[in-house]
Amino acid sequence: MPIHSLIRTSLVVIIVLLIAGCGGATGTPPPSSVTTAATNASTARQGTLRVAFDIPAKLDPAFASSDSEIAILNAVYDYLLDIDSASKPQPRLATKWETSGDGLTYTFTLANATFHDGSALTAKDVVWTFDRLRDPAAKLPTSDLYSNIASIAANGDQQVVFKLKQTNPFFLFDLSDNHALVLKANASDLGTKLNGTGPFKVTSYSPENRIELAANEKYFIKDRPGVANLTFIFFKEQQASVNALRGGQVDLVMRMPSALFKQLQSDSSLQAVQIPTNGFDLVRLRADRKPGNDPRVIKAFKLATDRKAIFDNVALGFGALGRDSPIGPLFKSFYSEDTPLPARDAKQAKQLIADAGYPNGLKLDLHVPDSGDRPDLAVALKEQWKDAGIDVNPIVEPESVYYGNNGWLDVDLGITGWGSRPTPQFYLDVMLVTGAKWNEAHWSDAEFDKLAKQAGTTLDDSERAKAYKDIQRILIERGPVIVPYFFAQFGAIKKTFTNFNLQAFAGRTDLAAIRMTK
C-alpha cells in the first residue's frame, strides 16, 4: 500500500475516533491552578471552588432563568427566604416573618446586611426590588406572579409589609421565586454591575469563559461562605464539563444526563449525589382539534404507553415513576396513588383508535427538543405506540426551534420538559387550566378548573389535599397528558470538598455552605 494512502486511511480512523470521544469546552481550556489566591488568611475559609456550568446569557435577576444564571446570582445576591429540600421556607435576608389572621398581610424583619459597595441594606431596597418585579408597565416575566400583591411598604429600616388582594397559601414560595433576588434601590445596569449583599463578590468576569468571585468578608451569615474563592467556568456541553471534572479542571458539576452520572458514580475521587425532583417530561396531545379531541384517542395513547419500561431504560431508573400528573411523590401529602394507572394494553388501544374513526391507525409527527433524555423518550414511545396502530414520526429539534415562535404550543403531539417547582399549583395554573398561558395541550375541563382554583386559594391543607387527589384522578382518566417519569437531579463534587447539599433546581444549591475537607 502506498505511503500516502496509509496516512490517509489512518487519518480517517483517527478522525472517527475523535468524533466519538470528544465534547468541546468553550473558550480556552481552564487552567487547573487558580486555587488559593492570596486572601484573608485570618479566616478559616480556604481554597477555590471551581464550578462548571453552561454559559449564562442574562445576569439581570428579572430575566435570569437558567441554572447557571441563577447560581451566579445566588452567590452575589440574597433571597428574602429560601425553600429547603423538604419544601419548607427557610430564613435568609428575612430573619423572621408574621402573617395576619386573615392571611392577607405578611410582615418580614430583615437581617443586618451590607451591600458589596459598603452601603447597608434597608427595607427600601426590598420594596424597590419587588415593586420593580411586579410593575405591570415594565412587563417583566414576574409581573403575573406578583399581580396579587396590593401594596408593599417599609416599616422603618428593618421591616417590610406585603399586603395581598386575595389569600395565597403559596405566597412565601412566590417570594422565593428565582427572579426575586434583593437589589439595591434604584440600581441600574443590572446585567453588568453586580452589587449584592450575597456571600461572594465578583472580582472578574470574562463573558462565555468564566466569572471569578471572592468571599464577602462582611457576609451577615456566620461561617459563610466556606471557601475563599468561587469560580464559575462555562462549558457548552455537559459531556465536556464532566470530562473537566474527571480531569481535575473543575471541582463541581451539576445537571447532567443520567448516563453520564452513572459513570461518575464509580469514580472514587468524587462524591456523586442524586436527589429526586418534581421536574418531569410531559408528553401531550392537543385536545382542541382532531385527533386529540376524541377522548377515545387520548385513552388509547395512555393505554399504549409502558411507563415502567420508559422509566427503567430512558431515565435509567433515576427519579420516580410518573402517573400522568405533575403532582409527584415528593409532594407527600398531596400525592396520591388512589386511582390505579391502567396496565398497558396495546390491543384495546388499537380498538379505541379504530372506534374513533381511524381503522387504519393514526399517523402523527412527534415534536421533541434535542435535550436531556427527550429524544430517547420519543424513540421509546414510537416503538410502544406502533403496537397500537399509532405511527409517529419523531422530529428532533434544537430547543431554540422547538420553543421558537411558540411552535411548541401549536403542534399536535409534543414532548416538553418541565422544571422542578416547590408547589404543584404552579403546573396546574400555567399548564392545565383552561386558557392558561402555557396550556400546550389546549385542554379545557370544567371540573378540573374548579378543583384547581379551589386548591390554589384555600388556606385549609386537607381541603387542598382532597382537591389534588381528585385532580390526579381526572388526569389519569382523561387528561391529554402522559408523565412517564420525574427526573432526578444529579451532581458530583471532588471529595476535597464537603457540605454539598444539591437542590432540585441546581442553580439554587447553596455554594456558600461548601468548604474544604479538613
Binding site: 486511511t9 480517517v12 480512523v13 472517527v16 466519538a20 448516563a259 419500561a309 431504560n313 435509567l316 421509546a380
Partner: protein, 292 residues
C-alpha cells in the same frame, strides 16, 4: 454475439480491462484485496442484511436493555434494548445507499458539466468554474450544515447535500482531463469528420476520462460515507430511530462507559467501510495505470 460493424464505441470498451482481469488485479495486493472484500461484504449486507438480522432494527426489548455482547445479542444491546448487531447491519443499507446514490448522481452530473463546459470553453466555462472554485474553498461539512439548516434534516436533503457538495469536485477533475485531451489529433479528426457534439463528448473524450473518473468515484463514495456519518453525528442528517451509524455514535456517546459496545461497533463499521473503499480505490487506480 456477432457484430456487423466496427464502431468507435468498441474502442472505448476495449480500452477498459475485462471484469475478470480487474478482479484478479484488485485481489493481487493484500491491501486492495482486503479493501475489496470489505466493500463487497458490506454491500452484500446492505442488500441482504435485513434477511439475516436476528431482530428488527428499531425493535426494543426493554427487559434486555444494556446487555453486553453475547450469543443472543452478538454486539450487545443499547440503552433502549435494541440489538446493536441488527442496527449496524441495517445501518449499512442506509448509509451505503445514501452515500452510493448520492455519489453516483454527483459523479454523473459532475461529469456532464465538466465534459460540456471544458469542451465548449469560453465565458460560461470561466464563470461556472470560478463559482465552483469558490464553493470548493469552503469545507464541505460547512456547506452541508448551511444547506441542511435551510431545507431541514431528512434523507432526501442529505442526498441533495452530497450531490451539491461533490458535483464541483468531480466537474473540476473531469474538466482538467478534458482540457488535456481536447487538443489531441483524434478529437480534431472527429471534428473534421463532422461528428455531433454528443458523439465527440461521449464517444471520443469520455473514454479518456473514465480511468480518472473511476478512482474519483470511489473516493467520492468513501467521503460521502464519511459525510453522511458526520451529519448523523451532528444530528442534522437522518433522524432517529434510524439505525444510521453516525446517529448511533451521537446517541450512545454519553453511554460510552455504560454500553461501550453500542458506541464502538458503529464507529468500527464507519472506519472499516471508509478504509475498505479507500484501499479499493488504490487498487482500481493500479489496475487502470497498469492498463495504460
Amino acid at each position: 454475439m456477432k457484430r456487423s460493424r466496427w464502431t468507435a464505441a468498441d474502442t472505448a470498451v476495449s480500452r477498459l480491462p475485462s471484469a475478470v482481469r480487474t478482479l484478479r488485479i484488485l485481489f493481487a495486493g493484500p491491501a486492495s484485496a482486503f479493501g475489496t472484500t470489505v466493500v463487497v461484504v458490506f454491500l452484500l449486507l446492505a442488500v441482504f442484511g435485513s434477511f439475516v438480522t436476528p431482530y428488527g432494527d428499531t425493535q426494543q426489548i426493554s427487559s434486555e436493555a444494556r446487555e453486553p455482547p453475547s450469543a443472543k445479542h452478538l454486539f450487545g444491546t443499547d440503552r433502549l434494548g435494541r440489538d446493536v448487531f441488527s442496527r449496524v447491519i441495517v445501518g449499512a443499507r442506509d448509509i451505503l445507499s445514501l452515500a452510493g446514490v448520492g455519489s453516483l448522481v454527483a459523479v454523473a452530473l459532475g461529469t456532464l458539466i465538466g465534459l460540456f463546459s471544458a469542451y465548449r470553453g469560453g465565458w460560461l466555462d470561466e464563470i461556472l468554474f470560478r463559482f465552483f472554485d469558490s464553493i470548493l474553498a469552503l469545507p464541505s461539512l460547512l456547506i452541508a450544515l448551511l444547506l441542511l439548516g435551510t431545507v431541514g434534516p431528512s434523507r432526501e436533503s442529505v442526498l441533495l447535500v452530497i450531490v451539491i457538495v461533490y458535483v464541483p469536485i468531480v466537474a473540476r477533475v473531469v474538466r482538467s482531463v478534458v482540457l488535456a485531451t481536447k487538443p489531441k489529433a483524434f478529437i480534431e479528426s472527429a471534428r473534421t469528420r463532422g461528428e455531433s457534439l454528443a458523439y465527440i463528448l461521449f464517444r471520443e473524450i469520455l473514454p479518456s476520462v473514465l480511468p480518472t473518473l473511476a478512482v474519483e468515484a470511489a473516493l467520492r463514495f468513501s467521503y460521502a460515507i464519511f459525510l453522511v456519518a458526520s451529519l448523523g453525528f451532528l444530528g442534522v442528517g437522518v433522524q432517529p430511530p434510524s439505525p444510521d451509524w453516525g446517529l448511533m455514535v451521537k446517541e450512545n456517546r454519553d453511554y460510552g462507559a455504560l454500553t461501550p459496545w453500542a458506541l464502538y461497533f458503529p464507529v468500527a463499521a464507519i472506519s472499516l467501510v471508509v478504509i475498505g473503499v479507500n484501499l479499493m480505490a488504490d487498487g482500481i487506480k493500479r489496475v487502470l495505470s497498469d492498463e495504460r
